[in-house]
Symmetry: C2
Subunit: 129 residues, 2 copies
């Protein structure tokens, strides 16, 4: 028995100026840009928006491919969730750092990450297999 939920979405930006991109998206969506990725040693290719009030994890990622958006699913059991999604028809693209990149039968890529939301247990959907 494991659980999962949409944790939020990643705004993939092909840009040389991720701060400017974060400024636009933060203002457009009404979310503050956090300083989570501005610390020494942290990821220079990410900026996090504070979407806690909507129970969403919203992050910008600097990418080399064309700009797009993708969903993140969070789970308490990465292997079980990836296996469940494979049975539904999704494919594994690869394991990156701490998450699985998958592809839907309709072609969109999305990621499966370990759960981080403090109310994950209450918010997530329970799967019997």
């Amino acid at each position: 028995m494991h659980k999962s939920r949409i944790s939020g979405f990643i705004i993939d930006c092909k840009t040389d100026d991720l701060d400017q991109a974060a400024e636009f998206w933060g203002a457009a969506l009404g979310y503050d840009v956090t300083d989570e990725h501005e610390q020494p040693g942290s990821e220079p290719h990410y900026r996090k928006l504070d979407a806690d009030r909507d129970n969403l994890h919203v992050e910008l990622q600097r990418v080399e491919h064309e700009s797009r958006m993708h969903l993140d699913l969070e789970t308490d059991d990465l292997d079980a969730e990836v296996a469940r999604l494979e049975r539904l028809g999704a494919g594994r693209i690869g394991f990156v750092k701490r998450w699985w990149v998958m592809e839907a039968p309709t072609g969109q890529r999305f990621c499966v990450v370990l759960s981080k939301h403090p109310q994950f247990d209450q918010l997530a959907k329970k799967w019997s297999s």
Copy 2:
């Protein structure tokens, strides 16, 4: 003074079988597929998932371009919100049926629609201009 919020996202699918696509995404995300677009006279190019428990509007759209995802913003004042987003750097692509298609400075398209969520007033962000 007007308001806006992320209403949710649209899963744009290049597919001949939107029902099969809705079945995958509904099961993957843990949302039921509603019958909102299966009534006579309704839109054959859309399927709605029931994401009410997450305060999200999630819909599949059959498209001719490559599959992707896009955000919807909802507002109580379409003109004011589109003008606000333009000042932030977004561009107008066109008015379709009842909504504006816009493009972020980082290239992603998104839509601005009239608010539908029953708790819109409480959930939305207030803008002074």
